[in-house]
Amino acid sequence: MVAPAARVARVVGMTLYLLAILFAAVSGVPGLFSRGFGGKGAAALMIVSALLGISASAWVLYGGSGSSIMLPATATISWGLVSFDPIAAFFLVPVLLLSACASIYGISYWDDHHQEGAGKVRFFLGLLAAFLALLVGATHAFVFLLAWEGMALMAFVLVMTEDREAETRRAAWIYLACTHTGTLLLLGAFAVMAGATGGFAFSGLPPGLASTGKGTAMFVLFLLGFGFKAGVLPLHFWLPPAHAAAPSHVSSVMSGVLIKMGILGFVRLAAWVPDPPVWWGGILVVLGALSGIMGVALALGQHDLKRLLAYHSIENIGIILLGLGLGLIGKSTGHPALQVLGFAGALLHVLNHSLFKGLLFLAAGSVVHVTGTRDLERLGGLGRSMPRTAAAFLVGAWAICGLPPLNGFVSEWLIYLAAFRGLAHFHWGLSLIALGALSVIGALALACFAKAYGVVFQGEPRSTAAAQAQESPSAMILPMGILASVCVGIGLAPVLIAKPLDRVLSELAGRGQGLPELGSLAGLSWLSALAIPLLMLGIILWKWSIPKPQAKEQPTWGCGYLAPNPRMQYTASSFADGLVQGMSWVLWPKAAGGRVRGYFPFPRRFQSHLPDPVLDRVAEPGLKGTAFLLSTLRFLQAGHMSIYLLYILLTLLTLLVWMVV
């Protein structure tokens, strides 16, 4: 029997969770009725939802125990289980935090006066948040798939917001096709799992199953299904168009939270399987390395700000998979230290990435909102006209490169520790791959974000739109500030996050297995101890070096050239050119024009572009070829309804006869 206090605690946790879902779902409804107040109403309801949900999560993660409820079952269908366990609590935090920030942002960014469909965006954003919140707590295949489909459809509608542009429609269409393919694969996976465990409720798989053919089939289906959603290379190609086409606050929710639902799936899978074979973790490590390196390499060549950020999401999913893979290897081979460090790094990176990617997308949205363009080559000098947005983007860039003392470093550090620990073992090859991949990813990410920040916010404006920029309204700055402070907070005081991580890790290890505490394996307090002196020293030196008020201000030295103009600055493509050309054997960049001939040449145009290798070189040509082949079967579509009904009749007859014979 559970002690009454514990029971009350469970009920409180579950109630807060369900209320949070409810508030999120209805947050868009006031906006449908009142035009002026819709944005603020939605934001208020979403903030309430976030506060409820995050307190529920904190309740469970910092001490309480999880709880679950059974939705009512009828004779034929059992609707299943919603369970607010530590995994759900952990994943709920980024879901609600980012949705709340996006709602606040949307007050000014997508309001009724300047944009069309604002009420629709608010409504579906609320529903998206509600479905996401439901998904994290689902522990029955039906509820899970229901929430999954709901989330995918809401996201589709949101991506299609600006449906007048052909590019948006194409992006939404690709997104829909990919997400439904993933869902189909998941259906197959859950069917196999139900066959093995005898039910659709999520419970631990019997030991020994994972190594059989059924287990392999289940893993492959889950890998593909969740991989589609998470954006693992080579199933990533829907991500950049969709995230670039959606409104920026929607992109921040999609990039920050939606793709993490694929990771949630992997985490749940890791929790069910008591004895995963080593090759499962190995595949995750290899895919993680591939996604990470290719993701950041492709990001380097982009000149659209939001596509660049979207490719970075792919890279960070790669890093998360590296951590998950190492953790799974630790679970398979019975090395608790490896398991703890790998999983903890991956989970913390899930939280961190949602924070700083959400921040980056919001900042990018602010830039796009003010200047009207996403093209890097048309921006510049915005650091002076939009200082707060620039500061927010800087924090996000600093965090995403994994530089100390911010939160990105903490999670990457944990995964590094896991990789280093794995070197001492039998499967050192995988750890070496992880290590090499992480170091390359870190350096390339630094290059890419130096380019992004430098080209957009520094230097001189490269176009009149950028020259006339002004700071965004405070409703857009506030959520950026919230996310940035959480990033800095986690970076400066990572010990606060150790206890929740330990609780989630104990779920992943399975019942009755003791794991070493994270704090004992990784000196998180040392990081804090170093971060604060670092910052203080930096500030002291900066104050010392700031020139006195009467210091002289000059234009930048132009090496004697008398008429420098902003177009002579390094462009984004030039900045990244060294690396892109160096990796041209995997990236296949396209360039056209630019050859200058003669002593007095005419003006020339130059264009460079980096098409997505999977989408533009494999998927589209492949599908076009298949469509051509299938069009030879057109004759079957005669157009007469009678013929179609005849087809149905013949099929029915065939099936009946076949059943008899």
């Binding site: 579509q637 005669a638 157009g639 007469h640 309804m641 009678s642 009904l645 005849l646 149905i648 009749l649 029915l652 009946l656 006869v657 059943m659 008899v660």
Partner: protein, 211 residues
């Protein structure tokens, strides 16, 4: 015993529907079939609970009066009285219907469904009605006759569902509701719009919508 008579009458009405070219007559016969099926629950020996009486009454009213009423109203608007030039001629369709009935008896015998008691004839009758409905749908040109064919199809499904009346009465009631759905939605919108948009009830014109 009564239920056997009702079932046999149903199968006979199938033949009538297939053979007639007069639309009024086919509507009448379809109504009659509906009444037969509506009365069927009462003859199964389950007693005369309020539930069963209500269900029978609902089925009779909807299938026997309401839908034919709507059909006749639609017919009055478009002034058609005969089905001419169906895809499959009347003699041939009569023979096909007989073939279908025979085949459904054979299939019912061989399929692993052996309901006992009063339900013995249900499966072959249901299958036969199903095929008749399909035949009407496939072979007729006029939209109204196709709707009648859909109604017959539904009667076949209703017959199947009646076998479950003890365990899942809700399924049977949902069947009646589905009839209502057909009556209101399909006819009102489809026929109205076809005649408005194309100025004709000839479904050949629908082939223009081919991809």
């Amino acid at each position: 015993m009564f239920h056997d008579i009702l079932i046999t009458l149903t199968v006979l009405t199938n033949f009538t529907l297939v053979a007639t070219s007069r639309i009024h007559k086919s509507i009448q016969v379809a109504a009659f079939q509906g009444v037969l099926l509506g009365l069927l629950p009462m003859t199964l020996g389950l007693g005369f609970h309020v539930h069963i009486l209500l269900m029978a009454a609902a089925a009779v009213i909807v299938k026997g009066w309401f839908i034919p009423f709507l059909l006749r109203r639609a017919l009055a608007k478009v002034h058609i009285h005969r089905e001419v030039h169906p895809y499959i001629g009347y003699t041939v369709s009569l023979m096909l219907c007989a073939l279908g009935t025979g085949m459904s008896i054979v299939l019912a015998h061989n399929l692993p469904l052996k309901p006992g008691g009063p339900f013995a004839l249900f499966v072959p009758a249901a299958l036969a009605t199903l095929f008749t409905g399909f035949l009407l749908l496939v072979s007729r040109r006029k939209a109204i006759t196709q709707v009648v064919g859909y109604l017959v199809l539904e009667n076949g499904i209703f017959l199947f569902g009646l076998m479950l009346i003890e365990d899942m009465p809700i399924l049977v009631e949902t069947g009646v509701l589905l009839d209502l759905f057909v009556g209101i939605f399909v006819m009102g919108i489809v026929i109205n719009h076809i005649s408005v948009a194309f100025d004709s009830m000839d479904t050949r014109q629908l082939a223009e919508l081919k991809d």
